[in-house]
Structures are given as C-alpha cells and as structure tokens.
Symmetry: C2
C-alpha cells in the first residue's frame, strides 16, 4: 500500500535526520562536570549522551570499595541477587520474556560466588533497581553522594532512586529504555554501553512475549516458569512487549530495518560518569566484579515525550500493516 | 482507507495529549525574570510560552519612547514601512499570498500618517524584520538593551536580530511560525497574541498560494502584482505554503479539524515581555501606535525539530490522501 510505504520511509528519515541534525557518531567525553546550565543546554535538552570525567573524584567509594571492605561493612547484610543460568536477565528465550530468579543471600556469600570461592550454578548479579543503595546498603551511603548536585539543580528535583550494581562479567543487561534521566557512575572496573537514540525506535523490532522467570530446580538446574501473578482477569496470558533483536549480533534477515539503525558503543571506565538520556535504548556489559551506582531522575513528560509517543503510534501502525501484507 | 484514519486520529491525539501532558489553558505570567537555568528548564525545554513582568524596567525606552522623542531623534531617518490597503501583510487574498508594499519614507512622515496629521491611502506598519532596530534606528539602540542577558546565557548565543515594531491598530500579523526563540517586549500600548503549539500543526490547514505584493497605483489605490522574482527556472509559478485559516474567525465548514485546535490568547501590556517559543503559531494584533521590540535567537535544530519535521511529513501524507479520497 503506497501510503504505508511513504510512512515507512518517513520513519526511516526520522532516524537519518536525527544523525544529520544533532547526533554524534561517538559519545563525546568532557573533562570536568558541566554547570547545571551547561548540562541542561548542551546534553539534556537535545537528549544526547556524554561521558563526564572527574565528576566524583571526592567520593570515598573510589578508594574504599573492594571485596574486603564490603565483607567488613555489609558482609552480614541480606541482599537481593539476580540469578540466571546464562547471564541474561530480562531477556528473550524463545517466545518468553524471562526475568531472573531473585535470591536472598548474605553479601559475603555473593562475594564468595563472584570470586569463585564457592561454586554455585548460574550467573549472579546485584542489580535490583529499587534504590538498593539506600534501601539495602545503608552502610555504604556515606561513601558516595546521595545525588549529583549539578544534575539536581538542572532537573529541579532529587533523584527517584540510587541503585548499586555489582556482578559477573557474563551478566548482560538486554536492550531496553527507561523513563528516567540516568547518571551512571562506574566505581571500579568498566561498563560497555551500546546505545541507540529514541529516533531509532522505528528500526527496532518489538515482539510480544509471555512473561516467565528462571527458577532453580532441586538438582540445581534452571527451569523457566511462567509468571502466574501477571495473569489478570482480563486476559489469560498477558504479553510483555520487548525488543526482539540483540544489537551485538542482530538477525538482519529477520529484522532488516535494524541495519539502518546506528548503535553507538562506549566504554565507561572507573571514575567516569555516563549521562544516559531518557528513552535512549541501551544494552550493557561489564568487566568481572565491576562496581557501579546510578542515579535515576524522573524524566519530564513534556513535548519530547509527546512526540515520542506519536512516533511509537505510527511505528505500531506501520508494523501491523506490514505484518498483514 | 483504514490506515489513514488511524493516522489521522494519531495526529489529533498528538494535540490532545500535548494539552493533557504539559500545556496550560492560558499563558502563565511570572513577576520577575527567571534565572538562565529556570528559563531553560521551565520554559525553553518544554517549549511553552510565558509572560515575564519587570524584565526591562531599567530600559530608558519605557520612559522616553513617544512621538516627540522619535521626531527629534530619528524623524529625519529614512525607514522601511509596510503598506497595505487593509492592514493584512503577508496574508492570503483569494489564491494569492500577498506581501506588503515596502515604502521608504522619513520616520517623521510615518508618524504624521499614524497620527492622522497627513492623510494617505492604506495602513502603515514598521515591521521590517531585518534587525531594523540596530540597522535602521541606531539612535534608539542605547534606549534598550542589545540583548536579554539571562536569555543570551541560557541559549549560549547572542540574538540574530532585534526588531522594532510600530504601527496602526488595523495592522494584523497573520498566523505563522518562526524558526526562532522569540522574546517580545511591549514598550508602549499592548499586543494581543493568539497562540497555537507546534503539536497543533496537524489541525492547521496549509494551502499553496501564488506569491504577490501590494503595489500602489498612480491613483493611490492598491493593485496586487505577482512577484516575478520568485519565479525560478525550475517552475513557472512557484507556490508559497501559508496557513489558510484565520484563527479569530475560522471557516470550520471548510476546515473542520481546526475546531479541535485550542488557540490560547494573551495580552502583553507595556512593560511586559512574552517568551514565544520556536515553532509556535502566532497571530498578532495591537493597540494604535503600539511600540515594541523583539529579540530573535536562532532555535536549536535538535530532537524537537527532528520530531516536528516528522509530524509535518505525516500531516502532509494524511492531507494529500484525504484530498485524493
């Protein structure tokens, strides 16, 4: 149908023109933190990522945070650890969207597993995004700031959550987007981010999956169990929309449009902070035992969000029409 | 066609959701100028208008600018005046887009006409947007600031143009949009702005018109003469796209979608400044002899512009398809 073709081309042009107008082919790096005004004007408004150096040199965490210190300070603490057989939490397996098993354990046991002192089946990752730094690791709070002062001033609000991340190098965060302005601080090791801008949405395939969760069997293997709690009265099998493509190894035969997307990869080293703008798609890898914390500031639901939702609607229309044809 | 109907509805929802998410039903007024950061965060980023009081109390213009002062200071100066038979410059007449006659005259003569001391056919308006304050009225420059300091800091650049406006109350600026962030300062009298946000674009009918210009005949009447200079080699009759509807008196039978737009009207009094965000549609009326200056800061061609162009493309597609059906 001619109109759908025009529309499909317009969606591809959105991505193309974003790159021509204002996106960079690599994530820029700045040597010192921006002023609140510069942060807002140069990065938040245009919605572009940046790596900021020397933004938290004064945090004791940079010196202190290691296995011995954690064992002493929070070794006794029960923490929530995401456990998967393969490192893929919140990821697609066949026709299911599989969440990790959430296991409670002492932090010292988590460290034993990470360091290979104790053998356990599976890949372990502390990644619970419920502001776990302030909720589960209170003893560590004084080692870092509770917010990023220039960001708080720029956004005119405090962060909604401060999350602590530590885990196995095999633990991968599958590609997704968040409704947050994200300041991601690597304390030790490094993280590799693969990023795609919101304007690439039309090129990124979403599919519907049955929600499920990994569950350890008595023998120590992993089963995939459907998430019954998610079944509502309205639908016997509610589906979760998730991204169907792996940006590091995309199946371009199945999803040819993704070839026109332009993922940007960047490495955030210890001592560096990534500003990851709201609604940017991101896929994350890490070095073994990498320690990081991130600050989530709620995004503004203003003109940019309004436009994004419109692009989403048009993308859905084109996708459905193409599937019919 | 079903897909076009879905698309048409999505475009209407864009407008509806903008109002639900972040637009106000009237233009807010603030008592003191914002800091550069507040200006950026609260008004420029979300792209919403605001009336700012007490922003230029210190300008000598507020006290000095009147007919006597102008006669003394710049009475001898040749200035460019837009002349039309009816007050409508850059407006639609039948199938033509008619620009005003541009007449050179001494400023004292313009004042004589405005004050009824000399009778002339037509409506006279000093409105040349070529930074005429700095280009044509240098003697007045020291009576006002050459830029708005907090805006210059917020935008990170100086204004591209500072324009001087003075004219007949019958002179109307027809609805249009500019690629500028606009700070509009009323020095004397008042201006009435009718504003529509960029998200209303799909509800605002554009048509193609033949460019033309008013031209006084020897008898003192006005002819409408096609603008031959605009005819290029590529096309014998290049057309100008312009808005086909008068927001104060819309022909809703012809343009029923416009009924879903929500124009907001506001009056800017002497001593007040309107922040008119880039790409907002505006229609302007004024009190007789109203004096104003405005600052045009070039807009950023970033994610918002990228999205706007996409909405424009989809709107064009739906419009063309509807015309076919």
């Amino acid at each position: 149908m001619a109109a759908i073709n025009v529309l499909s081309e317009a969606l591809e042009n959105l991505s193309l023109e974003a790159r021509e107008l204002y996106l960079s082919s690599k994530v820029p790096k700045i040597e010192i933190p921006p002023s609140p005004l510069e942060f807002l004007r140069d990065w938040v408004n245009p919605n572009v990522p940046v790596i900021i150096k020397n933004a938290f040199n004064h945090w004791p965490a940079l010196e202190k945070w290691n296995s011995d210190y954690f064992r002493e300070k929070i070794g006794h603490r029960k923490v929530t650890v995401a456990v998967t057989p393969n490192g893929f939490a919140d990821a697609v397996v066949g026709n299911k969207f599989v969440m990790p098993e959430e296991r409670e354990m002492k932090f010292s046991k988590f460290l034993d597993i990470l360091e290979g002192k104790v053998k356990e089946q599976g890949i372990f990752y502390v990644q619970k995004q419920n502001s776990n730094l302030t909720e589960e690791f209170q003893e560590l709070c004084t080692d870092a700031a509770s917010e990023v002062s220039w960001a708080t001033e720029a956004f005119g609000k405090h962060p909604d959550a401060v999350n602590f991340w530590m885990g196995d190098e095999r633990a991968i965060t599958s590609m997704h987007k968040d409704h947050y302005e994200n300041l991601y601080c690597v304390i030790s090791g490094k993280k590799v981010f693969t990023l795609l801008p919101p304007s690439d949405l039309p090129l990124i395939p979403y599919k519907l999956y049955t929600p499920a969760r990994f569950k350890t069997t008595e023998r120590g293997n992993f089963d995939i169990v459907d998430e019954i709690e998610q079944i509502t009265e309205l639908s016997a099998e509610p589906k979760v929309p998730w991204i169907a493509v792996d940006p590091l190894n995309p199946d371009l035969k199945k999803y040819p449009k993704f070839a026109k997307a332009n993922p940007v990869s960047c490495t955030v080293q210890a001592g560096e902070m990534l500003y990851l703008p709201s609604l940017w798609f991101h896929h994350v890898q890490q070095s073994h035992g990498c320690i990081a914390i991130n600050f989530w500031y709620d995004m503004e639901y203003d003109i940019k969000y309004n436009y994004f939702k419109f692009v989403e609607t048009v993308t859905d229309l084109v996708t459905k029409q193409s599937e019919k044809d």
